[in-house]
Symmetry: C2
């Protein structure tokens, strides 16, 4: 922990929502504000920046812009890391947007650190959620896409370009569906909400509300809870694919715990039961049998808690020099 007792400003920037929070030095959220991410043809880079800065103004009102010890940010990828020049797949208006540099200009006396949003979720779950006290964690977000982050030996894993943790592009079936990444049979191609919803629609499922693509995972999960047979079959399909990928990663990395969050995880046992069955079928080495696969504990706060931890616990969570 830092000895600075000023709070940290945490930001969570995604294609669906923007969030800002003031997080105290023990990692607890003290103030938070959220809004839908501006979309549509008239949304340009500055519209988004202005919306984000309005949230910042709201949560820092009580302390002022000089009252924060640092700024931690989780943002959708890809990005140039660690500079924080971002091009989030789901935010078309930001292509090569200098989010890190712009924040560093505004908060010039304190550190500004930007990392992948799914990495921040994993960090949050490790620091204060389902992975607390566990040295080796895979954190996953299953919603519009399938993202993830890794903490091994109590340190976040960044990889050569800050992209480590992309569990959505572990291959679960070499003859499976084409993936948006250009590959074949990735976990995301099977288990991401829109892909799973498309599969369910091919089997006769119809969404009950016109919420748009980013909500389909949650809606499918809700229909499964209501007993819709195709939605149930979709949960089996997603759980099976998740179990295969988690078994592969567990064997490879000798993990302690896997935390699964995101809209699809709202299905509860309807997803986690087939996931567990598939995981146990494939993860058979003795050390893998001890691993627990659990629902993420922090919900929508995980990304903010993790973003703050980039500032509060840099020994563990911010190591761009390797």
């Amino acid at each position: 922990m830092t000895t600075d007792d000023r709070p940290v400003l945490a930001l969570d920037v995604g294609g669906t929502k923007l969030a800002a929070a003031l997080v105290d030095s023990t990692g607890r959220i003290r103030e938070a504000a959220r809004t839908r991410t501006p979309r549509g043809p008239r949304t340009d880079a500055d519209t988004l920046w202005t919306a984000l800065m309005s949230l910042v103004d709201i949560v820092t009102a009580s302390v002022g812009p000089r009252g924060v010890a640092g700024v931690g940010v989780g943002c959708g990828g890809p990005m140039d890391w660690p500079t924080g020049v971002v091009s989030p797949l789901n935010i078309p208006a930001w292509r090569g947007f200098p989010l890190g540099p712009r924040l560093a200009e505004r908060f010039s006396t304190v550190p500004v650190r930007v990392h992948n949003d799914a990495v921040c979720v994993a960090v949050g779950e490790h620091a204060r959620g389902a992975g607390r006290g566990q040295a080796h964690l895979l954190g996953m977000v299953v919603s519009t896409g399938v993202g993830g982050g890794l903490v091994l030996g109590n340190r976040v894993v960044d990889g050569a370009h800050g992209n480590a943790g992309h569990v959505g592009h572990v291959v679960v079936d070499p003859n499976g569906p084409d993936c948006v990444c250009g590959g074949v049979g990735c976990l995301e191609a099977v288990a991401a909400g829109p892909n799973l919803a498309r599969w369910a629609e091919e089997q006769g499922w119809r969404p009950t509300a016109a919420w748009g693509e980013e909500h389909s995972a949650r809606e499918l999960a809700e229909d499964a809870r209501r007993g819709h047979p195709v939605a149930l079959a979709a949960m089996e399909r997603a759980g099976g694919a998740l179990g295969v990928a988690i078994a592969s990663v567990t064997h490879l990395l000798d993990l302690s715990v896997v935390a699964v969050g995101g809209g699809l995880s709202q299905a509860g046992p309807l997803l986690f039961d087939p996931l567990e069955a598939s995981f146990r079928r494939h993860a058979r080495l003795s050390y893998a049998r001890e691993v627990r696969v659990v629902p993420a504990a922090l919900g929508q706060d995980a990304g903010l808690v993790g973003a703050a931890a980039l500032i509060l616990q840099p020994d563990r969570y911010w190591n761009p020099a390797g």
Copy 2:
């Protein structure tokens, strides 16, 4: 590097051969001795220990038992780590054998460090082989089994029980063959020498020499070089599975380089060409396209060089406390 200029004793303990070497403080092998691993019904734990100690006596003759700065050991798994109480799958006479404690008794004034043999190969390739100067490496050994080790951010990855690196049990086909681990569709179930040879025999290939199971990967590779059509098809099959697993690991960990060694890699382009094709088909995220998959550079010395590095560069390669 250590400031102690005494050489390090390095041991490599496998089901096929035992090796010992004296390695200088710059990591170069100065003396080495090898022998076939004693086998058969009359081989007991002490027979093996005596054979290993004979090799130790040979390579330490010039300096004496007190002339070494430490003892680094690569041994087949599974093992209790970091204590080095070992039960190598391919050495039935050692079940719960206290290899680390016995060596610590004999070399009581210096550190004794035991790690998985495939981890030592990866460490050797990182320290002085195909991964030199690369921060993020997967090292693989494809022979009787498929083993591996990981170095991320220039530090070896151990996992919760010292078992990280088991790339042979990444799932490459959820409907693939049963694996010796109890799982289904693991890389090892497809691409390990004996499994590949069994598949080739089902297609009509016959081994030309009765070398025993542990040589089948090398022999199949040699027959592929001579143009045997089934041996060639086997290389396609193994290369395809290796490419899938390497793509998954590359996406997950944002690697710099992958080094592939072991008997099967002797096939050269006959293996590496289909491997590369499969890898490029599945590894499509931009950061993964830069990754090189290369033959391991150190051959049979890699395990000894890596075992010595456990002593010579503990900051990078020996972190049992996490």
